[in-house]
C-alpha cells in the first residue's frame, strides 16, 4: 500500500521547497524543537519499525510523557535521526490517527489528540488480577519465565494478526476534539 504523500501527516514537510530551503538538520544534527519525545529503534526486537514508533507513542501516552495537544516529532526529523524510510513514519502516524490518538494539522505537523493514561486504569487492576491467575496456572503447569513470555508473545501476535492490526481499539482512546485548523 502506498501511503498517500498528500496526507495530512505529511503536512509538516510540505512547506519546504526543494533542497534550497535549507536550515535542515539531516544526518543527526541538533534536535528540532517541538516534540516532548524522541524515537529510538530496537533492531533486535523483530517488531516492524512503524509498529515500534506506534508503540513508543502509546507508551509515552500511558506514562504521561505525551499529553493531548503535544506535537509528535516531525516526519523529516525522525527520518534524519533514525535514517528510516519516510513512508514508515507516515504509516505509523496514520495508524495513530486511525486509532484516534493523533491528528494531522495541515502545514504544522501531527499532534496528540487523545490520551491513554486514565481510561484503562479501573479496568487495568481487574485485568492484572486475571493475568496473575493465569500466570499461577502457567507456573503450576511447569512453564518458566521465558516460556511464559514466549507463549504470551505468540498469543498476542496471533491475536493482533487475527484482528488485522489497526482498526478497532475498543474503548482504548478517549478522543478529545481539539481546535483543529
Amino acid at each position: 500500500m502506498v501511503i498517500d504523500k498528500g496526507d495530512s501527516t505529511q503536512a509538516d514537510t510540505s512547506g519546504a521547497s526543494p533542497a534550497s530551503a535549507g536550515g535542515g538538520t539531516p544526518g543527526g544534527g541538533p534536535r528540532g524543537p517541538g516534540s516532548p519525545i524522541e524515537f529510538r529503534l530496537d533492531a533486535t526486537s523483530g517488531v516492524p519499525t512503524y509498529l515500534q514508533l506506534v508503540q513508543q507513542v502509546e507508551h509515552a501516552l500511558r506514562l504521561g510523557y505525551l499529553k493531548p495537544g503535544d506535537q509528535l516529532p516531525k516526519v523529516r526529523d525522525v527520518v534524519a535521526w533514525l535514517a528510516i524510510n519516510p513512508n514508515t513514519v507516515l504509516k505509523a502516524y496514520k495508524e495513530l490517527e486511525i486509532k484516534g490518538l493523533a491528528a494531522g494539522r495541515p502545514g504544522q505537523g501531527t499532534f496528540v489528540q487523545a490520551t491513554l493514561s486514565q481510561v484503562a486504569l479501573p479496568e487495568l487492576a481487574g485485568l492484572q488480577k486475571s493475568l496473575l491467575g493465569w500466570l499461577t496456572a502457567a507456573d503450576a503447569a511447569g512453564l518458566d519465565q521465558d516460556g511464559i513470555v514466549a507463549l504470551f508473545t505468540s498469543a498476542l501476535r496471533d491475536f493482533h494478526e487475527r484482528r488485522g492490526g489497526a482498526g478497532d481499539r475498543r474503548g482504548a482512546a478517549s478522543a478529545e476534539t481539539e481546535g483543529v485548523a
Binding site: T13, S20, G23, G27, V79, A83, N85
Partner: protein, 310 residues
C-alpha cells in the same frame, strides 16, 4: 496513477558472449526508496547503468521518469547518479567540485550544497582526496542532490562506509526523500541494512528480476510455517518458495497471508525482508512479480541447473 521512475521491458545487455542482464521487465513507481538486491554478478550495476544512460541495451528498452528514454537530455536532467565507491575528483577541493558541477549542469543549488557541507563539517578548501571515506561519500551525495533530481540512483553506496557514516549517508538520502519527494533507487547486497530504508524491493538473480513489489505487500503475502518434517511434503495449500528441513522439524517459506489457514500442528510466523529475500535467492526458479500475466513461479526458461546462487 503514479509515474514509474524506471520502466524496463525485455531489457537485456550482453558483454561479448556474457549476458549481464536478460529479459528484464519491471516498473518502479515514484515515491519510493527502492532497493535493488542480488548476489554479486546478478546484474545490478548493469541495470542501473542502462537506466542512467551510461550503457546501451542490446535488447529491449528502458525509460525513466514517466517514459523518457534513458540517456536523453530530459532524462539526464532529472536523474542524479552516484556510482559505486562514491567517486570524487581527488585533487579538487570540495569548493572546486561545487564550482565544476554547477557549471556542468543546467540546475545546481549552490546554497544547499554549501549548507549541507557546512552541517557535515566538511571543509570547502580541503582536497577531496584528503577527506575521510564517509566525507567523500557525503560530498558525492551532496553534489548529486544539489542538482535537485527527481530520481536519485545509488550503486552500492554504503559498501565502503563504517556504520556511523552509513547511518549519516542514508539519513541524508532519506531526508531528501522526505523533504523534496525525491525517488530513490539503490543497489546493495547487504540485506540487513535495507530493512529500515527500503519500501520497495527488486530482487535480481542471475540477470533476471525474481521479485518486485512493495515491501509491505511482500511481507504480508509470505509466512514462515514451522512444523513436523514428515508432513512437509504434504503441504500443498499454498506455494512453497523454499523449504529447510532437519530430521524432525521443517521450515517452509510459503506465499500465504495471515488469513490463510495453518495446517494442524504447524505454526505460522511473519517473515522479515532479509529472510524473504534469502529464500528467493536460494530458489532461482521461484518468482514473485506483480501483474496477472507474470504471477507465481515462473518456470526457469533454460535448462540450467538451479544451483544455489550464494
Amino acid at each position: 496513477m503514479t509515474m514509474n521512475v524506471i520502466e524496463a521491458s525485455g531489457l537485456g545487455k550482453r558483454y561479448g558472449s556474457a549476458r549481464a542482464l536478460r529479459e528484464c521487465t519491471l516498473a518502479i513507481p515514484a515515491g519510493h526508496v527502492a532497493a535493488l538486491v542480488g548476489p554479486n554478478g546478478a546484474g545490478k550495476t548493469t541495470l542501473l547503468n542502462l537506466a542512467v544512460g551510461l550503457a546501451e541495451p542490446t535488447a529491449g528498452a528502458v525509460t525513466v521518469l514517466g517514459g523518457l528514454p534513458a540517456g536523453s537530455p530530459a532524462a539526464l536532467d532529472g536523474i542524479a547518479f552516484v556510482a559505486q565507491d562514491t567517486p570524487v575528483y581527488k585533487n579538487l577541493s570540495a569548493a572546486d567540485m561545487l564550482h565544476l558541477t554547477a557549471n556542468l549542469n543546467r540546475r545546481f543549488d549552490r546554497r544547499y550544497a554549501k549548507e549541507r557541507l557546512g552541517e557535515l563539517g566538511i571543509p570547502l578548501n580541503r582536497k577531496a582526496g584528503k577527506l575521510s571515506g564517509g566525507q567523500q561519500a557525503q560530498l558525492a551525495l551532496t553534489v548529486a542532490l544539489a542538482r535537485l533530481p527527481r530520481l536519485l540512483v545509488l550503486d552500492e553506496p554504503m559498501a565502503m562506509l563504517d556504520p556511523l557514516a552509513r547511518h549519516d549517508f542514508m539519513a541524508t538520502v532519506l531526508t531528501a526523500a522526505a523533504d523534496d519527494g525525491v525517488s530513490v533507487v539503490l543497489s546493495s547486497h547487504v540485506l540487513a541494512e535495507l530493512e529500515r530504508v527500503a519500501d520497495y524491493l527488486i530482487l535480481l538473480s542471475r540477470g533476471r528480476v525474481q521479485v518486485a513489489g512493495e515491501v509491505d505487500g511482500l511481507l504480508a503475502t509470505h509466512r514462515m510455517l514451522t512444523g513436523p518434517a514428515a508432513e512437509a511434503d504434504r503441504y500443498t495449500e499454498r506455494p512453497v518458495v523454499h523449504a529447510r528441513r532437519a530430521e524432525a522439524q521443517a521450515h517452509l517459506l510459503v506465499r500465504a497471508s495471515a488469513d490463510d489457514p495453518v495446517p494442524p500442528g504447524w505454526e505460522a510466523h511473519p517473515v522479515g525482508l532479509e529472510e524473504l529475500a534469502m529464500a528467493y535467492l536460494r530458489e532461482p526458479g521461484a518468482a514473485a512479480l506483480p501483474g496477472p500475466a507474470r504471477g507465481w513461479a515462473l518456470p526457469p526458461e533454460t535448462g540450467e541447473p538451479s544451483e544455489v546462487t550464494r
